[in-house]
Structures are given as C-alpha cells and as structure tokens.
C-alpha cells in the first residue's frame, strides 16, 4: 500500500511531524532490539493511528511483527468487521485471543460486572496471550494525556515476570536512549503514542486519511439510558430493564470498548471536521465514557499494576 494518494509531507504541521517521527523511531527501535514483538491492536482510533505509523516505519518491508487483538467477545459488531477489513487492507498477520476459560465460566460485563469482566477477559486474557506466544515486547496505543497514572509511565515500560508494573521503580528514560534490555521471562510494554493528545490523534487521522471505525461518527443508533450515559443495544445480549426500550438517538462514541461498558454521547458530528470542532468545545474527557475507570479511586493505576494495558 504505497501512499500515492496521501497528501504531501508539507501538509503535516510541525508538531504532528515531530510526533510522527518520534513514534516511528520508537517502533524501529523495538524491531531492532527485540526477538519477538507484537502489536496490541484494539481497533480504536489510537490503534488505527499506531498501525498506520507502523506501516510507515517499516516501508517498503512488511510489518516485522504480528497484530494481536484480545477479544472479550463483547466488542461492537462494527469493530470486529472493521478489524477484519483493516487487517486485510494492510496485509498484516492477526492473532485473535479469547480467554476461553473466562467464556466457559460465563464471565461477561452484565453477568459479572465491569470490574471482574475487565480483569478476566482483558487483563488475564492479555497475560495469557503474551505468555502463550512468548512475546518479549508488546506495543500499546495508550497516551499519557488519557489518565493521571499513564502520565507517569515510560515509553518503554518494564514488566517483571507475571507482567507486573512497579510504578515506583521505573527505569529513568533520558533523551531517546531507550533501555530495551530484559532477562528471560521479563517483557517491555511499548507506548509509541505516549506524547500524542486526543486532538493530535484526530487531526492526524484527518490529514493522513486514516480509516476509523464508523462508530466514531454520529448516526441514529438504538440506545438506552444507563448510569447517566447512552448505552447502545448492539445485540440481543443486553437485557432490558422493566419498562425500558431502545430508542433511536443521534449519537457517536469518543472511545470504543465492550459495548455494554461504553457510553455514547449525543452528537451530530458526522465528519472528521465536525469531530475536531466538537472537541474544541468538549467539556468532558474521553475516558468519561468508560464505565470501567470510575470503579474505584486510583483504579487505572491498580489495573495497570496487575498487567492491564
């Protein structure tokens, strides 16, 4: 996929050019230093940008590592369709991992609650998948502007055996000299988008013409009101409360995850330009649509220590 149709380099403003080059440098570093890297691909806008940057970083060679999607089986149907289209378009190698034991135990966001579901189907599943394949480095699309504990995480973030993150004992990271050395059983999580903001992501998607899941754009969708947000009725697994019925609302999503845990916002933003304009006036952060972060104080730091991305 040679990018003849993309706008010329000059179209990128200085700050995005610097961010792009930094991300590419990080990815090449991983390809050069690790024996078995993998890219965690979660289908959302950040993953779309990360994948686009990876294609750029290794052009004209194909991606030197596979993509991996840890599927909780509760993703929006449109996400899965988009994932499969994207993998085919890019020609990447995709590993899909589902925690089968969790499925057998009947773990799900509705039956088990968001906390247990996330732990078993995302955190545990991820660890199982990494161990199964013996990956020594895993790219994630997390950004430091998303959440406070992420703001303190390194770009090359060390994990001891068992995938444990120790925030008080992180390796200092100076200049662009990343310490990639690990012993057997240890691994590194790598965050090439660390210094990007949500606005940068959207701006770059627009300038680079990067495909994203249509759920980010406003459309009439069947939703119900839950916990102060709109939950989309994506399939028949979402039980209705007594007297509750889905209604059609013009909504879109700022982040994507498991559909029963991901709140939509009412919006009429149907183009990237609308989204950028809407962000200008937005008064809540993107993670607010995620029901899993507010489970308890410091919940992200806690989840991350346990191995969550």
């Amino acid at each position: 996929m040679q990018g003849g149709t993309n706008p010329p380099r000059e179209a990128l403003p200085g700050h995005l050019k610097r961010l792009e080059a930094e991300s590419i440098e990080i990815m090449r570093e991983v390809a050069a230093e690790f024996s078995k890297p993998v890219m965690l691909y979660s289908i959302g806008k950040d993953s779309s940008v990360m994948l686009h940057l990876a294609v750029k970083a290794f052009h004209p060679a194909p991606l030197p590592f596979p993509l991996m999607h840890v599927d909780t089986t509760w993703k929006f149907r449109e996400m899965i369709a988009f994932r499969d289209r994207t993998v085919e378009r890019v020609g990447a190698n995709l590993i899909v991992y589902v925690n089968r034991e969790g499925v057998e135990r009947g773990i799900g966001p509705i039956a088990s609650g968001s906390s247990l579901h996330t732990h078993v189907m995302k955190t545990e599943a991820l660890k199982q998948a990494l161990d199964l394949h013996g990956f020594d480095a895993a790219f994630g699309g997390a950004r430091r502007d998303e959440e406070k504990s992420r703001a303190k995480e390194r770009i090359f973030s060390f994990r001891s055996p068992g995938h444990i993150w120790d925030p008080r004992n992180q390796r200092p990271e100076l200049w662009n000299l990343f310490n990639t050395r690990i012993n057997a059983g240890e691994s590194i999580r790598v965050f090439p988008l660390s210094n990007w903001t949500e606005l940068d992501i959207w701006h770059y998607i627009m300038l680079e013409n990067i495909p994203v899941v249509p759920l980010y754009f406003a459309k009439p969708r069947p939703v119900v009101r839950r916990a102060g947000t709109w939950i989309m009725v994506d399939d028949e697994r979402l039980p209705m409360e007594p007297g509750e019925a889905p209604e059609m609302r013009l909504v879109r999503f700022r982040t994507l995850g498991c559909y029963p845990l991901t709140g939509a916002i009412e919006s009429d933003a149907t183009t990237l330009d609308d989204i950028l304009a809407e962000m200008r006036t937005a008064r809540v952060s993107e993670r607010q649509g995620r029901l899993i972060d507010s489970d308890e104080a410091s919940s992200m730091e806690k989840k991350k220590r346990e191995g969550y991305f």
Binding site: P60, P62, K148, A151, P172, L174, L177, N183, N209, R280
Partner: protein, 628 residues
Amino acid sequence: MALAVAGKVAAEMATKDLLRFITCGSVDDGKSTLIGRLLHDSKLIFDDQLSALVRDSERHGTVEDDIDFALLVDGLEAEREQGITIDVAYRFFATARRSFIVADTPGHEQYTRNMATGASNADLAIILVDARKGVLVQTRRHSLICSLLGIRHVVLAVNKMDLVGYDQGTFDRIVAEYLPFGVQLGFKSIVPLPISARFGDNVIRAGNTPWYTGPSLLDYLEQVEVEGEAFDQPFRFPVQWVNRPNLDFRGYAGTVVSGTIGPGDPVVVASSGKTSRIRELLTYEGPQTSARAGDAITITLTDEVDIARGDLLVTPQSRPEVSDQFAAHVIWMSDHDLVPGRSYLARIGTRTTAVTVTGIKYKVDVNTREHLATHTLGLNDIGVCNLATGMPVAFDPYRENRRTGSFIIIDRFTNHTVGAGMIDFGLRRGTNLHWQPLLIGKAERSAIKRQRAAIVWFTGLSGSGKSTIANIVEQRLHAMGHHTMLLDGDNVRHGLNRDLGFTEADRVENIRRSGEVAKLMTEAGLIVLCSFISPYAAERIAVRNLVGEGEFVEVFVDTPLEECMRRDSKGLYAKARAGKIKNFTGFDAPYEAPETPEIHLRTLEAPAEAMADMVIGELTRRQIISPH
C-alpha cells in the same frame, strides 16, 4: 480528505509547532499548582477531571477551601497521599499557536535523577522561586542541572507574589540576585516573570502587577524562539534498523539527528571511514528531495558498504570524534554506587557497547558547584569521569549535539539504567597503542594439545569446595594428557593482586586482573581452571565476554552458607563472626548466585570426586576435551 477541504479548526492548527519545557523548583514553590493553573485557565481541564479533583481535594488537598491543582498532576497514589511529586509526569496542552509538552519534575535533592530525565528532552525550563524565600540552594541546583543537560532558555518565575503584596522591590531583588549566577551557567535567555500560580496573575492574563509590562507566562511560551531541531549542524544519522525485505533492497532506517541531506550527497560511516553517496531518501510517501533533523527516513546508498545498527552516517566535511576513551559528566541514578573498573553497558546513539569508568576526576557539589574528590558516585551524584568503551564509538561533545553526545549506563546484571552521561571530549591517549598481529593463534596452539582452550570458572562461597573440586578436575585432566593451569583466588592475592583488599571496588579489580590473566592463558591454548569466590555477576559476565563463545564454562559450586560456616576450613567465618574480618562474602557482603551456570554442583548431594566427574563429563560434552 486533503487539507484544502478540511475546515477551520484544522487550518488553524496547520502551522502549529511543539515546545517541550520542564518546570522545576523546590517542593513548596508551587510547580504542580502552576501547571494545574495553566491547564485550568486555558480550559484544558475537562469537567469530569475537575469533579474528580474536587473529590480528591477534599480527601488529600493541602490548600484550604480551594481546589488543589497539584492533585491534577500528581498521578500516583503514593504521591497524592504524601502530597509530593515523586516521578516525572508529562502533561499536554495546546494553544492555537503551539502544542506544549510539560515535564513536571520533583524538587527534592533525592530526585535529581528525575529532574535530569525531564530536562534531557526539554527546550526550556521554568524555574520557580517562592517570592518570600528568594533564591535558594535548590534554585541553584536546578539551574545547574538544566544547564548541564543543555537547556538554553530559562524563565525565572517568581511565584506567590500575592503573599508579598505584589511588591516590585521584592521581585527586583530576587531577579538581581539570580541573574549573575544564571549568566555564569551559560543560558542564552533568562526571562524573569512575577506570578501567582494560585490566583493566576501573569500566568495567562495580566495580574495585580501594574509595574510589570512584559508578557504573561503563556504569551511568552507561545512566542519564545528556541533552537528546536538542529538543521544547520553537521549531518548525523544513527542507523537504527537495516530494512532488507528482499535481495534487491537494502535501506538504513533511522532519524536524522542533525543537519540536512539530499540525494547525491556524500556520506561517511564514522567508525570505519567507508564512504558512499545517498541514492534515495525514502519514506512511505515516496522518495524525498531532502531530509533534515527530526525526519524519520530510510536511506539507500550508491555503493555496497558494510553498515549495521549502531553505525553513524555523517557528512565528510565535518566528522565526529571516534574514540574508545572519553571524558564525560555522569549523573548516577542507582542506589548501588558506581564501581570504577566494573564493566557496564553503554547505550550511545543506536550502539550498545561495554563501558568502564576508568577514573573519577571529581564530583560536582550540585549546590555550590564546588569540585570534590571522590572514589565513587552515589545516587544523584554528578561527577566528571573518564570512560573506556569496548569498541571505538563515534560522538560529538554534548554541548554541540545533545543526540550524539549523550549516553546511558546500564547494569549488566539487573539491566537497570544506572547512569546518564554527557560527553565533554574524547581522550586520544590510546591512539598510538596498536595490536601486534600474531601469526599463530589460540586455535593453532590448542590444536597441538588436542584440546580446545577454555576458562572453567568455579564460583561459590568461601569454603564451598571450589578449590578442592578444581584440584581434582585438574588432576584428572592432567592424567588424560591435557595442558591445564589452575588460578586460585588466594594464591593470586599473594602476588599479582597483593595490593588489593576486599572492598567492592577491589574485588572488581581482583576479578578483572585474574580474568585477563586467564584470557592470556587461553590464548596459549590452555584449559584454565579458575577458583574465585567472584561474588558479583557483572564481573563474571565481564570475564565471560573476554573470551569467545563457548570458551567460558561457569561452574557454580553451590554449598549452603550454613554448611560453609559449619566446615569453616580456614577459620574465616569464625573471624568474621567475631568482627575481625570485614566485607566477608555471605556474611556482611553479598554473593550474587549465577542464574544459568553451565554446570551447577550441589555439593551436599555427592562427594567432591563425583562433582569433578560431572565437570569432566560436561567438558567432554562441550568438546573442550575429547572422550577417552
């Protein structure tokens, strides 16, 4: 969608650039409050973050009846509980003109390493001073670190002006005290600003300071011209990754760290001196007509030149220094002191190589800038050192190029980043010392003995049985007709190493010398049995790296400490217990057991003869000796 059809918002952002800055100041000067204020007043705090902040303020807040902005940036649980910043936090905000990345770093002296980390990538520093306290020791320390890390632009933000009644005299006095000091440190610009982070004066809007006519802090940050990318400097390109998808394409992927280059331009591989010309500058968008500092590209050359990751491509007009010895400022970042003579790893550019600190000239008192004599560097110390690398490396002085003049030091055993360095200049003393080529080598010398030369390294606690087993092994090998030598720790200390004691540094030197002797003997074709406590993994790895692959056989003589103490064949444990011997391994000095020795002898399980048989068996299996 091309830019032309994109709307107003994107058009506004089309000319934006990026400024990275660091905030520093001592613990109560209000750094985090200032950043919180910048984010809040530029409307970059979202409502849900604000309501979380109100909740947190009630729980942990230190500011009465007010939202504590510091809680917004202190992200780790421990930080919120203790009300201090421990680690570097990165915050992001943007105006129509610029994107900003802020490194918020802790002020305490014990976090010097975190400050250095934040400063390493910053273009500008905001140094906060409490108007009531004026220029403090910390102010000087932070300024010195910023200057060492190559920051050229400083904002002297005199904070808490509200608490001194917005008094101009106070402000002027602080500025007058700071300026001479700041000028000495070589900053290109020093801009003093009177502010109140708590109330927002002169942070974004003009404040209660009619006597101050300069820009607000944000105005200044939007306008300040920093060097940014080094377009005008000599071309430097560290090769990161060789892109070789098929036999017809061989490209060198990396990021231009300084200068500008175009197709047809000549380039030199700095370390080998091989030359070629640029054929293509490739990106995903296609071949480019030029590339400059900051661009991530893939270079193809007109000639087949031997180039690998770690090489530095440079312009022939202005070459970097190439040397295996240099002087540098080193910031030590580990709880374990720097051990001169120990072999660490250095990461310099994209090259990783062995590095040894061969001498510490002095340590800098970060508060007074005095030079202090020292034998080691501890956590947060900054020293000027001479270093030797395992192979010649290409570099520029840090003052000229931050990207080709910086390095990190990694502990071989723990893999931790233990130090960071900024190269001052190369040391060329070794240039006239050449290797004398020899016509007969190790292989020829050992072949005539019908064996392969090797070091068999016995490590273990004092009294574990190393020498006993090594002696039996040597008797057996001798009986089989092999040519051997046994180096014993005790014996070597009577001669070659009689000037060495038992401190960590002396133990390191003891093993280094013994390893070198053993290496010389392998070059003579011998099987060298070495019996040394050798408590540190790093030194054992260093000896391993002296010889070829498969020529170092580590034998872990694994006897529990209790058993060694019970045997106490030399009576040393008794003396250690009585306090007559200091730094006794296993007693009051550490022993780092090998994790993956070639041979693991659990001595409680069988007698010494059986242990020796195991060693002989393994040497046979490894074809160091042939079966008899």
